[in-house]
């Protein structure tokens, strides 16, 4: 038995001699897919490992305690006692404020961070020069992001104003552990020493700031022990606790999601490769019919024949997959460079043998299972073929659709499901993905079938010769319609889906600034400063576009239930109650648009609301329930809620909400729900009050103004900051640039992937066209023998490939619109608008590609003389 297998292997090896390169070309279809899988998996492993190794540095301490408000005296007492008992605590207070460089007169909204010595305990904040960080507390020093210096046209050594205090810029930040590099682009960071925070005078009424205390546990003390001792005090005082393990977990989850998304791309690449292998091997099989017939005459059983060619396919598949794995390892080293701005850790790249082997295994399996289908046809080759040659098509038709073919077809489908499930985090995603792919294949199959039928019906004898023959090529025996439509359509489907999804996702973030008349916004304006801002704007003859009052508040109760009762699932202490408490389960809700939560979400109940009051509905808002404020006599004031928020709070029109406005209870009734277009860049509000309800409440203002030139805007900002240092301002065109910049980086990443998918399509298309190359050659030669010119033959082929290319890519584009719609609808929960023109451009491009590849593969027809070609056929 072994001797016999050895003999077969020897035959397989020798017989593959001239076909190796061709077979390898077909098998290379899977190379990129394997490369993608290996790269993605090892990269994810590397990142996860790096996160684990650096988890304490990511947080900066063993625990991080945070609060949205100043730590209460009780918490401060706790910190003091910790310090005195050998548990160091370091503090950071962060808030947004204007940074001004007097020398240049430029301002920029920055993230100011006041830190106490020792911050952070783990990991290092790196600066240039390196001593800048350790010298931060030695004086009124600031260390800032380099981007801030650029924005303010300043350099190290300049004086920087924050509020009423002046600081010297002593260095720039090069790395802050646990933070993304893009953070600097969104809001430049400014570090100062905590002891100078008070001098700035920036933290006043209504200022938003985040307070953090890092804790370094003494040796021998565990996080659990610490939490056990402090949990009661901390939770009672609204202090949130983050541990290094948690931050590691959160990051790992995020990385898993990224991996899943990328995996889909890799998987798609692999499947596309599988299709390429199948059509390539089909072409290979066609060439091998004669050899197989001889082998059969010489006594080879059909099983032996199959073994010989499966061995060849397996060997080449292994080479293709191995090349992919190597490429993947290479890509893995390049990947951190591409995404480093979006990663909070330094990724140390190491070989991930598990990922390598998995990729290799999956690649080999896909290559084999897809190759097996066409290879099975070799069993049907009759030895009689050696005596008398019949058309390839007749030969291949025998032995079609027997049980083995069904088994292999089933194995292909099962493999798609298995791999999709293995890659997808959730069962639902894996199944959904597989079904989508099968559906796409089924649709393309149907399109190809329809095309074949239509071509047969539509041809009219009076049509020009070349066109008739071009169309006839679509249905005559041995046509390539199915193979090309399937591979081309599938490729276009994937590329275009990616593109459509990208367009829609980014389109959502399009701020449409042009629609807003203002180009600068001032916020955190105190009540007594409003008149001063007014005069600065009008004195400069700038335009005051809008002045909005803002009242900070929290929810005191909803329908009589306090936030504590709501979150505990308890009924109101008084008479009214909702559902029985036992019915209420813990259902975490995620974002808007999900299913209505049975319990209001925590953030919605606990958060601080910054509401406004006005008489009219804004142009960007739409009433979706109830009626706008009217003069109806009610003991309570009327409020209008954002519809999404109402969903989160589980309230509807008619419910009552009592607000805590700086200690004053304001009872209100919800009389309407609004749909707010949050994507527009302008102040939007979750809660809008009737004016009379808040007329006397302490408030802040937001001013929207317009200055005709960038210089006007800069001057306006400078004048305001100089007079009112606590007032922050934003140059909206700057925001637009920043957003465009960040989106640009994301877009580049997505484009890159789309391009990769496009590249994947090329070998597949080659394989598909090669599948019927022999028929094409034979026919072309015959045409030539009968007196056809090369020009005529060229035109016939052109007609055929244009038809195939156009229909295949059009089918793919139509499918992709469906695919993208499904993605938007079910995965991203957002509305979908098809991008028609780009889709058509994609399909036109792919048609061109198909024609180019088709003509390129057929160049032998043009090059060879009929006699030479006929002789090789003999």
């Amino acid at each position: 038995m072994t001797a016999r297998f050895g003999g077969l292997a020897a035959v397989a090896w020798r017989e593959s001699r001239t076909a190796r390169r061709r077979l390898l070309l077909y098998m290379s279809s899977i190379t990129l897919g394997v490369a993608a899988l290996v790269a993605i998996d090892s990269f994810a492993q590397n990142v996860t490992r790096s996160v684990r190794e650096q988890s304490r540095a990511l947080l900066g301490g063993d625990l991080s305690l945070t609060s949205r408000a100043k730590f209460t005296p009780a918490v401060e007492t706790l910190f003091d006692s910790l310090q005195t008992h050998g548990t160091p605590v370091a503090r950071q207070t962060s808030f947004s404020s204007m940074a001004l460089v007097l020398r240049t007169g430029l301002t920029r909204l920055s993230q100011v961070r006041a830190v106490t010595p020792g911050y952070p305990f783990y990991g290092r904040i790196e600066t240039d020069p390196p001593a800048a960080w350790s010298g931060l507390a030695n004086g009124r020093h600031v260390v800032v992001d380099a981007s801030l210096l650029v924005a303010l046209d300043a350099h190290v050594g300049d004086s920087l104003s924050l509020g009423t205090a002046k600081f010297e810029i002593t260095g720039t930040l090069t790395s802050v552990p646990g933070e993304l590099a893009v953070t600097a682009a969104i809001g430049p960071r400014v570090y100062i020493a905590d002891r100078y925070l008070a001098e700035t005078g920036l933290l006043v009424f209504g200022s938003r700031a985040d307070y953090e205390a890092l804790v370094k546990l003494p040796a021998g003390q565990t996080v659990e022990q610490f939490e056990g001792r402090t949990a009661r005090v901390l939770s009672k005082n609204d202090v949130r606790v983050h541990t290094a393990a948690q931050s590691e977990q959160n990051l790992s989850n995020a990385i898993d999601q990224l991996r899943n998304f990328l995996s889909v791309v890799g998987l798609v690449a692999l499947l596309l490769g599988g299709i390429g292998v199948a059509s390539g091997v089909h072409a290979f099989v066609m060439r091998k019919i004669d050899t197989v017939a001889i082998l059969r005459c010489l006594g080879a059983t059909s099983a032996q024949v199959l073994v010989i060619y499966v061995l060849q396919a397996a060997a080449m598949g292994l080479v293709g997959a191995a090349a992919g794995a190597l490429l993947g390892v290479g890509l893995q080293f390049a990947m951190p460079l591409a995404v480093k701005d979006f990663l909070p850790v330094d990724v140390s790249v190491r070989l991930a043998p598990a990922a390598l082997l998995t990729g290799l295994g999956i690649g080999l399996w896909v290559a084999l299972v897809f190759a097996l289908r066409p290879l099975l046809a070799l069993r049907g080759v009759s030895p009689l073929q050696a005596l008398r040659r019949e058309s390839d098509d007749t030969v291949m038709r025998q032995g079609r659709r027997d049980s083995a073919t069904h088994v292999v077809s089933f194995a292909i489908v099962a493999s798609v499901f298995a791999i999709a499930l293995q890659r997808a985090e959730r069962l639902r995603d894996g199944i959904g993905f597989s079904v989508a792919i099968l559906l796409a294949v089924a649709v393309l199959w149907a399109v190809a079938a329809l095309l074949t039928i239509a071509a047969r019906r539509v041809v009219r004898p009076r049509w020009p010769f070349v066109l008739r023959h071009g169309i006839a090529s679509l249905y005559r025996p041995g046509n390539q319609t199915r193979a090309v439509i399937l591979s081309l359509g599938f490729g276009v489907f994937l590329v275009s889906t990616l593109y459509q999804a990208q367009k829609n996702l980014l389109g959502q973030l399009d701020l449409r600034l042009d629609q807003v008349r203002a180009n600068v916004v001032f916020f955190d304006v105190q009540e007594d400063e409003a008149a001063g801002i007014d005069s600065i704007i009008t004195a400069g003859r700038y335009e005051l576009v809008q002045r909005l009052p803002i009242v900070p508040m929290r929810i005191a109760s909803i329908n009589g239930r306090t936030p504590d009762q709501i979150m505990a699932g308890l009924p109101a202490a008084g008479a009214r109650s909702g559902e029985p408490a036992a019915d209420r389960r813990e259902v975490p809700s995620r974002g808007r648009g999900g299913a209505a939560p049975r319990r209001p979400s925590r953030w919605a109940v606990r958060r601080e609301y910054r509401s406004t009051y006005r008489d009219t509905l804004d142009a960007t808002e739409k009433l979706v329930a109830g009626r706008w404020f009217d003069a109806a006599k009610d003991t309570m004031s009327q409020v209008s809620l954002d519809a999404g928020l109402a969903d989160e709070l589980d309230v509807s029109v008619g419910d009552t909400i009592t607000w805590d406005v700086q200690g004053v209870r304001v009872p209100t009734r919800v009389t309407s729900l609004r749909e707010v277009s949050w994507a527009r860049f302008q102040p939007n509000f979750f809660v809008v009050f009737q004016p009379k309800a808040l007329a006397h409440a302490p408030k802040q203002f937001v001013f929207l103004a317009y200055g005709p030139t960038p210089r006007d805007v800069a001057l306006m900002q400078r004048d305001v900051v100089l007079k009112f240092p606590n007032v922050s301002s934003l140059d909206l065109s700057l925001v637009q640039h920043t957003v465009a910049d960040v989106l640009g980086r994301v877009t580049t990443a997505i484009r890159f992937m789309a391009l990769v998918s496009l590249l994947l399509g090329v070998p597949v298309l080659f394989s598909a066209v090669a599948a019927t190359r022999r028929e094409r050659l034979r026919e072309g030669v015959l045409f030539k023998t009968l007196g056809g010119t090369r020009r005529q033959i060229g035109r016939i082929m052109l007609a055929e490939y244009v038809l195939l290319g156009a229909l295949g890519s059009l089918a793919g584009v139509v499918l992709s619109v469906g695919g993208a719609w499904a993605l938007m609808r079910f995965v991203f929960n957002t509305p979908f608008t098809p991008a028609v023109l780009p889709a058509l451009a994609v399909s036109a491009g792919m048609t061109l590609l198909a024609v180019a590849i088709g003509l390129l593969t057929s160049r032998e027809v043009f090059a060879s003389t009929p006699m030479a070609a006929l002789r090789t056929e003999g």
């Binding site: 038995m1 001699r17 050899t291 001889i294 010489l298 006594g299 059983t301 005596l387």
Partner: protein, 228 residues
């Protein structure tokens, strides 16, 4: 050794059945050298295909070395070919990707013979190609290719050898030498040889001639011989 009984083969061409062979019967003893002759289209090649088990008859039986081909499936017939049958074709049918010696080795390797290379070398020497072992078919002349094919046909020591117009693609001198070789191997190995040809001179070299016309046997020198 080889016995055909009432062999009939029909093909369906469109709606009409086309009868290529009708009621062909004969038997060939071990060691005989038989020529099947007839004009083009008389059914010679079809008959050869049926005798060698490459195809199945519409009716009738073929017994090859006491085995009923009709009772065997494709793979059993393939194994029988591997063990007892050799082929020589008009167009040589060497595997283009294999060298001369590798082509000869194939039937041996299909059986798992571990001395395949040695045997193949011997055989090629016997057909006078000891110095061309590692040449590819395209590097050999027609006559050389056919000699490789004959070496291959004898590599598994067949009990019977089928030759389909073995000289059809060769000039007459080379053709004569190929038939000499076949004759010689027939004598040395005692293998039965069934030669299909339309070349009367070639057929005359055989010990017995079966003449086909329109799918039926019109002349069989053995039966005539028996009759006279």
């Amino acid at each position: 050794m080889l016995e055909a009984r009432q062999l009939t083969k029909e093909y369906r061409v469109g709606e009409r059945p086309l009868r290529v062979l009708r009621d062909v019967s004969f038997s060939i003893p071990q060691g005989a050298f038989v020529a099947i002759v007839g004009p083009s289209g008389s059914g010679k090649t079809t008959l050869l295909g049926l005798l060698a088990g490459l195809d199945t008859p519409s009716s009738g039986t073929v017994r090859l070395d006491d085995a009923d081909l009709a009772a065997m499936d494709e793979d059993q017939r393939a194994r029988l070919r591997g063990a007892k049958v050799g082929f020589v074709f008009q167009s040589f049918q060497l595997i283009p990707t294999l060298t001369a010696i590798e082509n000869v080795q194939v039937p041996l390797e299909l059986r798992g013979d571990s001395h395949a290379a040695d045997r193949a070398r011997d055989l090629l020497k016997r057909v006078g190609l000891g110095d061309r072992l590692d040449h590819f078919p395209t590097e050999l002349s027609g006559g050389e290719q056919q000699r490789v094919a004959i070496a291959r046909a004898f590599s598994n020591e067949p009990r019977i050898l089928f030759a389909d117009e073995p000289t059809g693609n060769l000039d007459s001198e080379t053709g004569q030498r190929i038939v000499d070789l076949l004759e010689q191997l027939n004598r040395e190995s005692g293998a039965t040889i069934v030669l299909v040809t339309h070349d009367a001179a070639l057929a005359a070299r055989a010990g017995r001639i079966i003449r086909l016309s329109d799918g039926a046997v019109v002349e069989d020198s053995a039966t005539q011989g028996a009759a006279t």
